[in-house]
Structure formats: structure tokens, C-alpha cells
Amino acid sequence: MTNQKESNAIIEIEDLDFYYNQTKALKNVSLDINKNEVFAFIGPSGCGKTTLLRVLNRMNDLIPKTRVVGKVQIEGHDIYDPNVDVVQLRKSVGTVFQKPNPFPISIFDNVAYGPKAHGIKNKKELMEIVEESLRQAALWDEVKDRLNDSATGLSGGQQQRLCIARVMAVKPEIILMDEPTSALDPIATLKVEELINELKQNYTVVIVTHNMEQAARVSDKTALFLNGSIIETNETNQLFTNPKEQETEDYITGKFG
């Protein structure tokens, strides 16, 4: 790692262990993620990708008896410091979940939810945020005439883009995406991937995916996880074309996983 890269890192993870009760789900993970970079986590099921993602905005706080050992810094701040305001942290580190989970309220209210929760009341301002976010998520044209309809009436792909819009309405710095396209058809997947490419301009994106082509298409860097540890981290095209570790080669050639 060069110094220049380190200074650019927006997320710095150092010697991280993570426990569910007594079970160690992450072992000695160290990782730097740069600003405006799309970073992919790949690896077989159960290797800890989701767990690490949830460590990054402290969603694991919601699960009882979990424990973090080690250091996680975002923009230079230790996010597990007792003085950290989790609400502020989650505001700047948004999540798009594996399963689209729009709230059972109107499309407009879904997108306006975050800004409202953070104190924006002005109707006009909210409308602007909603439109902007829906445009960014490439959903505006499809829903602009039915903003007051329930979000649960949207298709799966539309719901997922709505969830992306919802996160963007909060204007985070970092967007975490946990297998965002696993419930989507190829066309919707393509739309979300295009979107990720655009998001890179303004956001840092961490994406978990099982689909190695997807990792190759959208990400700048990739980390391969096995059993809670990182096996290899590299530029995505390097990792796929020229893996350094035997396990990486085995995984990407489909020998296991």
C-alpha cells in the first residue's frame, strides 16, 4: 500500500474481530476503502460479507450479544467510540439491503422519510429532494405520476431502486449495498449497475455480491472473503485476471463456493 492511497481512505478497518455471542464471524480483518471508489466484497455464503457491511454503520448494534474488537474509522473518526452518535453515523453511511424493503407507505413518503426524520419539514424542499433522489435512482420517469401510490405496489426492481433513492435522499457519503440485485431480473440488474457507476462520482460505494461478473463490471477494487477472513484485496481486474493467492484462483474459477 502506498502512502498516497492511505491518505485517501474514507474507511479504515484495522485488526477487526467480530463476534455473534461466542461465534467469531470476522477474524483479523484489515481494509482501506478510498473515497469515490466502488469496492466489492465477494466470497462464499456465510463468510462474513454482510457482517462486515453491517459493522460499517453499526447495524449490528441492533442484534443482541454482538461484539466488535479492533478499530473501524470513517473519515478519520473511530465509529465505535462511545461518544459517537449512531444516528449521525447512519445518516452518512446509508444501506441498501439485499431484499428490497420499502415501507408500506406511499412512494413519496418512502423517499421523504429520511429527510423528514432529520428535521426537514418544508413541503417544497421535500418535493425537490424526492424528485432529485428518484431521478438519481433512475426511477423518476416510472413513478412521477403515482407518487402517492403505495410503494409495495412497485415491481421488485422498482422497489430496489426506490430503496436506493430513499438512501440518497439522506445524502450520505458512503452507500453500502448488500447484494442489491440478487432479487432482480437482468434488466433491472443492469439499471442498478449503471446507477452504481454513476454514484461513484459523488459517493463511496461498498457492494456485496455473489456475482463475479457484477463485481468485475461495477467495482474498482475487490476483496475476497473466506471464513471470516480476507484472503486477498486488489484492483478488481488484477484480482480476477491475476490472483496472487491460490484460494482466490480456486474461488474465481469455481472450484469452491
Binding site: M59, F103, Y113, A117, V167
Partner: protein, 306 residues
């Protein structure tokens, strides 16, 4: 053939017998409902039509000795007591449900939950006793003391709308709490995570996501509570005074003694002559219609949810 049905297989026959028995049992509940409905309507309807439906429903005098049967005061009594009881009981019940599911530490929930179940199991006559001893006494002191100048003498006994409202509010709490708690518990974790992940606080998550998502279940809980309240008899008879009169409108209503539809039937059936008896059955029909309306509302909501 490998998957062919065996004809006289023993377990097939057993299955068939069990099915028939279960069907008869299921049928029996439908039959009882049918029989009850038939008898109530058979006894009450001809009377109601003879007497005149509007005279019966909107008549304000109930005097069986003179063959005058107007049940409007009882309808008013039932409606007032039920509506006010809901206004108190529903918000409290919903709040308790939210607290139990989303906020209370496990230790507290462990104590409160069985307590609520126990409350549900207390016979209404016992709750009525509590009302007679504690609530009536308190209300009597208030209405004979500071409020005595403003209330007619008949409103100062403590036996009143307010006593009925308080008792009913207590009695519907378990229904409202347990059903709303179920529907709050059924709100998918993903909704909550989605909310937290955007930096919403716990309170925002509860009031803007969890409660709205549980809305139809909570509404069903309230409606069932209404059904329970309007049908309650024993405890109500013991505390509302049972006099047939339409209360003075205004805050004084709270201290007015009233009679409910259920009370009317229970109090007079024991000594009623033939026509009087039919009038009481007709009272039952009105009650029946109330309950049917309430239950269809619940069904409607259930259907809309799925």
C-alpha cells in the same frame, strides 16, 4: 404402479373418520349460530314489526306494564358508554402494546404480559364488584361534594356512565393490547432496519414505520374491543344505575345513570310476561345487528390487509 392409492388402507379409513368428526364439530358451531339467530329473530321480529320498527327503536319510553316499548334510551346508553370507553381504552391499550413490544426491557414485559392475561381472565362480576366498591364510591364523593351544585339529585349516586366507561375501559384493555401487540410484533424486522439504517431514531422508527405498518391490526383490535364493550353485561349492570333515561347532554352525561341494551335484557328477562319477553328478544336483535356490523368491519379490514 408405484404411486397408486391403496383402496382399503387402514390409515386411509382412519383419516376419513377423523375428517368426518372434525367436520361435524365445525358444523356444530355454525348450527349453534344458526339456531341462536333463528330463535332470537323468531321471537323478536314479529313483535318488532307489529309494534312498529321506528316506534321500537326511536321510542323514548320503556314501560312494559303499559305495553310501551321504546328502546332508544338503551341504545343511547350502550353507544355512549362504549364510545367513551373506547376513547379511553384504545389509546392506552395501543400505547401499552407499543411499549411491551418495542420498548420494555424483557424483565418488565415478563411481568406485565401475564398480568394482562390474568386481567382478561377475571370474571366480569368480580370486576363489577371492584367497580361498585371503589369507583362508585369515589364518583359518589365527587358528585355529592364539589359537583353537587351542578348535578341533579339523580346524578349523584355514583352509578353512572362514567363508572361504566371506566370499568369497560379496563375490561377491553387486554383485548386491545394483545391483538395490537401481535400485529406490532408481526412488522417485519426489515422495515425497522430500513428506518434505522437511514439514521432515524427509535421513536421515529416506532411512530412513522412500525405503528403505520401495524395499522390494520391495531384497527382490528379496536373494533374487537368495541364488540367486547357493547356486549358486556354483568359488570355494566353493576355500575351504571340502569335507569331508563336519556342523559342530559353536556358534561353532566358522565354522571347520568343509564341502561344499556344488554342490561335491559338481563335485568328483565327473569320476570317478563309473553309480550314483554318478545320485546326483550327484539332488544337482542338490535344488539345482534350492532355486533354483526362490528364483526363485518373486522372481516373487511382483515381482507384488505391480505
Amino acid at each position: 404402479m408405484k404411486f397408486q392409492k391403496e383402496k382399503n388402507n387402514k390409515s386411509n379409513i382412519e383419516e376419513g373418520i377423523v375428517k368426518v368428526i372434525l367436520f361435524i364439530m365445525a358444523l356444530s358451531s355454525v348450527i349453534s349460530l344458526g339456531l341462536i339467530t333463528f330463535f332470537v329473530f323468531n321471537e323478536g321480529l314479529p313483535f318488532m314489526i307489529n309494534y312498529g320498527i321506528t316506534d321500537f327503536i326511536f321510542g323514548t319510553t320503556w314501560n312494559p306494564t303499559d305495553q310501551v316499548y321504546g328502546i332508544f334510551p338503551m341504545i343511547v346508553g350502550s353507544v355512549i358508554v362504549t364510545v367513551l370507553a373506547m376513547l379511553i381504552g384504545a389509546p392506552i391499550g395501543i400505547a401499552v402494546a407499543v411499549y411491551l413490544v418495542e420498548i420494555a426491557p424483557r424483565r418488565v414485559a415478563k411481568i406485565v404480559k401475564p398480568a394482562i392475561q390474568l386481567l382478561e381472565g377475571i370474571p366480569s362480576v368480580v370486576i363489577g364488584l371492584f367497580g361498585m366498591v371503589v369507583i362508585i364510591d369515589l364518583l359518589r364523593r365527587i358528585s355529592r361534594g364539589p359537583l353537587s351544585e351542578y348535578l341533579p339529585a339523580g346524578y349523584q349516586t355514583g352509578y353512572s356512565v362514567l363508572a361504566g366507561v371506566l370499568i369497560l375501559a379496563i375490561m377491553i384493555l387486554p383485548t386491545i393490547i394483545s391483538i395490537s401487540a401481535d400485529s406490532i410484533r408481526a412488522v417485519p424486522q426489515e422495515y425497522k432496519e430500513g428506518s434505522y439504517a437511514m439514521g432515524a431514531t427509535k421513536w421515529q422508527t416506532i411512530f412513522r414505520v412500525v405503528v403505520p405498518a401495524a395499522k390494520s391490526g391495531i384497527l382490528a383490535a379496536v373494533i374487537l374491543g368495541v364488540g367486547r364493550a357493547i356486549g358486556e353485561t354483568m359488570a355494566i349492570i353493576m355500575v351504571v344505575g340502569n335507569s331508563v333515561q336519556i342523559p342530559i347532554p353536556g358534561w353532566e352525561t358522565l354522571f347520568a345513570p343509564v341502561r344499556t341494551l344488554t342490561g335491559n335484557i338481563a335485568l328483565e328477562m327473569g320476570y317478563a310476561g309473553p309480550e314483554h319477553r318478545q320485546a326483550l328478544f327484539a332488544t337482542g336483535i338490535i344488539l345482534f345487528i350492532f355486533i354483526i356490523i362490528i364483526n363485518s368491519l373486522t372481516l373487511l379490514l382483515r381482507r384488505r390487509r391480505t
